[in-house]
Amino acid sequence: MSQIANVSRRQFLKITGMGATGLVLGGLLPGFRPAWAKAGDAVSELNLFVSIGSDDLVHIICHRSEMGQGIRTGLPQVVADELMADWQKVQVVQGLANAEYGSQNTDGSRSVRRFYQIMREMGASARAMLEQAAANQWQVPLEEVQARDHQVWHQKSGRSLRFGELAEAAAGLTPPAKDQLKLKSPDDFNYIGKDVPIVDMPAILSGQTVFGQDVQLPDMLYASIERTPVVGANVKSVDNSAALKVKGVVDTFVMPEQSEPVLFKPLPGVAVLATNSWAAMQGRKQLRIEWTDSTHSQHDSDAYLDVLKGRVKQQGKVIRSIGDAYAGMMNAVDTFEAGYSVPYLIHAPMEPPAATAVFKDGTCEIWACTQTPQSTQQNVAGALGIEPDKVKVNVTLLGGGFGRKSKPDFSVEAAILAKQTGKPVKVSWSREDEIRHGYYHAAAAMHFAAGMDDTGRVVSWLQRTAFPSISWTFNGTSDEPSGSELDLGFGDLPFALDNLSCEVQKAEAHLRIGWVRSVSNIQHGFAIGSFVDELAHKLDRRPRELWLELLGSDRLVDPEPEGFKYGNYGESKAVFPIDTARIKGVLNLVADKAGVDKPTAKNEAWGLSVHRSFVSYVAVATKVRVDGNKVQVLEMHSAIDAGTVVNPDRVRSQMEGAMIFGLSLAMMGEISVKDGAVVQSNFHDYPLLRINQSPQIHSYIVESSQAPGGVGEPGVPPVAASLCNAIFRAGGKRIRDLPISKHMQV
């Protein structure tokens, strides 16, 4: 459990790089082990900090990375509320990489759900200490004083003291014990649950923000790196003579050779260093590089997906079962089966990765748009052969992340080049680099079958999945989906079934595989959501009705007794169970709000889907028009049940964004690979949704006092299925293999 402790100013300075005056509080947090931590590593615990200065300003550290989700606003909002602070006097300070914070990995849609409680406690502790300091000064009972509007008041005498006047005295007090801590009643919240505008708005409006790409240091060199087109290949030879003749080019450098596992190591390649970005890019075009052979140079994504599609037609390794699905199929009066696939995808944040590094006197300082400052610190230290505490990582704003910036390879590149040149170096990835050399969302094939009895009830359900695992990135050997990926919308199937078999098939990796917004939920949400709709069509049932029937009675689903060790996004199953009532709740809400049961115009139809992920629940209804072979998305409605919500406006914006992210991948998203190399390179062949393709979007948030769930990712998984279901019902094709653009005009 979390505890609040008084923290020395020296320690505060060390952790934040900021001098503090007055009251400084830290909270101890439960540890969390990142996926790439070595077995046996001690799980670290860490501190979060609030400081109140004698100038009345409250500084709140945001130790999570801002990439558009609004966390630099959301977490401070929670502290300020419990503290009874005036939001106008709150300043947000971005935390440096430091293991004492615990995990800073801004991924898995967990910033609010992991830190909501501790941030409340932090604010409430500070408030209690300020109140105690005031009571001591006035020599009155504690019960008679009250914090409000950045001051502490003594009602009886009408006296008041500003927080800034009390901070010094409060700092000398012992924080209240956890069981003495009085948290506010939700009825009294003045910031939590309110649409507080994002703290970075003024800087964004005037172009003053600093993203990773924007960092500039005196005497800095700009690097552009030509990387291996095929994973596993190294530089065999390079002719840099023409590159060095380009005006502005200073030098070239062959990046270190690499072997598998690929981890977060920089890809092999040749860096061109120049006095400006353009010169570096021009010089790079003049490089003549020969690459060594790679075991992956035969990889062809179309052929590969065909192999996976074949495999999932065969019985696989059972990871969860109820009854006997095969006997259930044999005994069924009617059966139905279908296969689905999703290609490789890439993140394409508007800001491609970028990092700037300085190496001096055995220490390294990094500025990077990173989702994982501590992993950056460790990987940079490892590459330079120095201790992690000799690496200072400054987190800039992120121009989108979506999982790409969880991988610190680009910071390691900058660090290596800074050490090599002895100068500050900025490594900027081009769009082509970002699309061709990423950590890809795994291409996936799935197969589903259902058996029905003579009343049309589904009595047996079989599902199989195959995709290369993210684990391969870390161990170089995994050849099938891992448990943590099967957690994501596959092994956690929430249906009430007499017979069920969930199975996996083999899939070797040939590209760096990584997390993309909502991860394996992308393919599983698409396949399950489509299959339910196909079944409804076959059985001549309304989709909503069949969903509700499959979900069954209101209950908590636990896949564990059925053989599946379910990780539940690292959360307690008691606090965050799989609750069918909440799934049905969002489904009914969105279906009613959108009016999916009402008649539509000719060639227009609604499609529906629902999915639980990151311990939140999202349903989506999409309306399309199909003219001949052309699809137009007209309208989307989403409903999210994420428990307690801190900033409803940012939740709505995440849901709007998730709809558009989901549409992009469903309609047009495809990375293909030929001869081991990615074919696409920029927005002409990896298109993203544009404003003229963007539908009207309506977002609904279920009012709830339950613990806060994830928000950034859960909106994505139901989108593709709801869209494809709508297309089919509007008279278009049944799309089983994404993207839609392969089959229809979008």
Partner: protein
Amino acid sequence: MMNFTLNGKVVSVDAEGDMPLLWALRDMLGMTGTKYGCGMALCGACTVHLDGQAVRACTLPMSLVQGKKVTTIEGLAVDASHPVQQAWKEHNVPQCGYCQSGQMMSAAALLAKHPNPDDNTIDEQMQGNICRCGTYPRIKAAIKTAAKLGGKS
């Protein structure tokens, strides 16, 4: 040396004629409000105004900028008071904010030409600007608000 007017001030940079304006702005003049997104005029993140017209700085060579007037997000208005900036704030448009300089510069140019744009005009004029965060619905709403604010000023 290349001379041009940047946000009302004459500047000169030692750039080759084939260098795109984007890199002169960012690397030589320290004006990083204009963003790189694709380098092929496909995404609009680098949109600036050249003699009042919205252009993509990532493909505009300095030889064509010589002697012209360039406005970037930093010079769109004093204190972010342009109707587009006000409307962006009112609708809480940005998520990550990276593409928004380009979005606002495109929107400002659109409103200069079409003071009361309908949805089709907005779609047509704004489809060169990609937002991966998906702020399009709010951009549409904000442009309409900006049109009203612009009418009053």
